[in-house]
């Protein structure tokens, strides 16, 4: 992700630390590797570019957006993590993965020196959600796995739905012409 202070921050950062972005969904703070995020946009700025996915193939995905000739599926962070529904104001567009994530706010960036493994006691979906945990300023914060938002199966279903939307638009365009 490009931010103004990146270069100076990078020079201060030792090789053993990792830059993360802390973001909030509801009252919960999460972390994601800064390298995994391509850009952060407001939901308002993407509203005109977003295409509604009416068929709800994957309930947590209601929209897709085209960015740099790629289709990104917009995942509701609340629905993904089973949190109380909020009104997200930002979209994290991920790098290398065709996923964008609706979040409420960005808290800040931080350099972390260690990501602790998720304890083996956690055996549910969270093993796919989180890379591990960080302990930062007396808080334990889960670190997101960027590829954990959508499964290959979910991508395939969404791709089919996106193609259907595209075909319908082409057909509507032909009829109008």
């Amino acid at each position: 992700m490009k931010i103004a202070t990146q270069d100076s921050a990078k020079s201060r950062r030792s090789r053993s630390t990792e830059a993360v972005i802390l973001f909030c969904i509801g009252a919960q703070t999460f972390a994601i590797a800064a390298d995994a995020v391509q850009e952060i946009r407001s939901t308002d700025s993407l509203a005109t570019a977003a295409v509604e996915m009416e068929f709800a193939e994957v309930p947590k995905v209601r929209h897709l957006v085209e960015r740099s000739h790629r289709t990104y599926y917009v995942v509701s962070g609340c629905a993904h993590f089973g949190l109380r529904v909020t009104r997200p104001t930002l979209v994290l567009i991920l790098r290398q993965i065709r996923t964008a994530v609706l979040v409420d706010s960005i808290e800040r960036m931080a350099d972390v020196s260690a990501v602790h493994a998720l304890p083996q006691a956690f055996q549910g979906e969270e093993r796919q959600w989180y890379r591990g945990l960080i302990y930062l300023e007396d808080r334990v914060i889960p670190v997101i796995k960027p590829d954990g938002f959508l499964t290959p199966n979910e991508f395939a279903r969404l791709d089919r739905a996106a193609k259907a939307i595209e075909s319908r638009k082409e057909l509507e365009g032909t009829v109008q012409a």
Binding site: Q28, F30, F81, G82, L83, H116, P119, Q120, A121, F122, Q123, G124, E125, E126, Q128, W129, L133, Y135, D138, R139, V140, I141, P142, K145, D147, G148, L150, T151, P152, N153, E154
Partner: protein, 159 residues
């Protein structure tokens, strides 16, 4: 925890969960931790109340009171930290915390077989101070619920 025969005439830590006393083998107990902040984050694993941080380690906290006593308990402020083994052997274990009320004591005695129809997470009983105290098998206690197929049955494998 290994078989009951290995725990005969050993030391035990007696702990209070709800209004009942239970025992854990003393060699599996690491420490009684003071009230510290319980951290939580979204997950789908049953029985896990969150995690605490002790001596630089992140320790999962199992809320076993509903299983052992059939109800929630609000009086637990301390954490008894014990090793929980994973798998059949003891090749992998993890520090695990149980909320307790802080009244723990060391006792020695001979473990007797569990009572008939006792749940599988009771490894046996101790006769101490005219009372029968159930000995907990921590691994079975927490995995009985965690391995329940309904716990994460809607999880899909992700790459």
């Amino acid at each position: 925890m290994s078989g009951p025969e290995n725990h005969a005439r050993k030391s035990w830590v007696l702990l209070h969960v709800g209004n009942r006393r239970f025992a854990l083998p003393a060699e599996s107990v690491m420490e009684l931790a003071p009230p510290v902040r319980l951290h939580n984050f979204p997950h789908t694993s049953r029985l896990i109340a969150g995690v605490i941080v002790r001596r630089g380690r992140i320790v999962p906290v199992y809320d076993v009171c509903p299983v052992l006593c059939g109800r929630e308990s609000s009086v637990h402020r301390f954490y008894l930290i014990a090793e929980r083994a994973f798998g059949a052997g003891n090749e992998a274990s993890e520090a695990s915390a149980i909320p307790v009320n802080g009244e723990c004591e060391l006792a020695s005695g001979e473990m007797l077989p569990p009572q008939e129809n006792a749940p599988p997470y009771f490894a046996g009983t101790l006769a101490i101070e005219n009372a029968n105290i159930d000995v907990l098998d921590l691994q079975k206690l927490v995995s009985a619920e965690i391995n329940n197929p309904t716990a994460a049955n809607h999880a899909e494998l992700r790459p």
